[in-house]
Subunit: 137 residues, 2 copies
DNA sequence: CTAATTCCTAGTAAATCGATAGAATTTATA
DNA sequence: TATAAATTCTATCGATTTACTAGGAATTAG
């Protein structure tokens, strides 16, 4: 399941993607438009900035805007930024790999291989969902 | 990600699937064989029993055994029993559906449709992984 | 200088997770 | 029938995570 943070991030990105080119959106505007608690959204937007999905203009008349094409922002990326691994166990993860402490050796693990199959399919599906594909026409 | 509980459940089922037909496995035997904390495993086996994957014999020389074919126990079922919904949000879930409180109306939600696509693909993949398919030959 | 905004750090209440503890119940068999 | 060996039940616990909230510092336009 997605955390609220990831869900809010997606909704915020969708909001930004729906604005006119060159429009700068204030946090409060996004919060109201997408129904997200404002103070919480502040943190999320900063995370999205650190992840180079959006950039900001500080000070009066400042705000946030997309710096990555909505066609290039995938659900997989947002999941990883906010919720971490897409695989079902760390030992089956590409980006968040960690060995399992309860497995004697990895080659003997009956779970890992199957979970990597799942990971590949889920990842492929999640990479197919972009912000652009989600925006209502 | 899977909880430890779900992971241990899978490992316990794998252990049971590897035993001879009619063999009854004590908790401590499964715990040692699959490297699972014994007291924690007790609860997990009770959950698996309530889920009708295993049954038990009480008292001396008692223990647990599979009552569902290892070909019919899927990763999807175990995920749902221990970790709940497979979908990324409750509003996109088949078995754990709940509306989102932050969405005005469901038809206006830009996320839901995409998340249901993911759910369908992930679910299909997870239904393809059975205990039998995981057992080492 | 002031107002409006992002940026930063901390805190907090509630829930969840990953167990552990202890005792009640059930069963086989000596 | 007593005993040993097992499941079953219920409660508790510490650590972590989650979903926020609070407050102020820094930045910028006019």
């Amino acid at each position: 399941m997605l955390s609220h943070k990831a869900k809010y991030a997606l909704k915020a990105l969708l909001y930004l993607a729906e604005q006119d080119e060159n429009h700068i959106s204030r946090t409060v505007e996004i919060a109201d438009g997408a129904n997200i608690p404002k103070k919480f959204l502040e943190q999320i937007l900063l995370d999205l900035k650190r992840g180079r999905f959006v950039s900001s203009k500080q000070g009066k008349f400042g705000g946030y805007y997309l710096i990555k094409s909505k066609n290039d922002i995938t659900l997989a990326e947002i999941h990883r930024l906010f919720d971490g691994a897409i695989a079902l166990l760390p030992c089956a993860s590409l980006n968040f790999y960690e060995p399992c402490s309860d497995c004697k050796t990895e080659s003997e693990c009956n779970l890992r291989h199957g979970l990597m199959l799942i990971r590949d399919k889920t990842l492929k599906a999640m990479e197919g969902i972009t912000i652009a594909s989600l925006v209502k026409k």
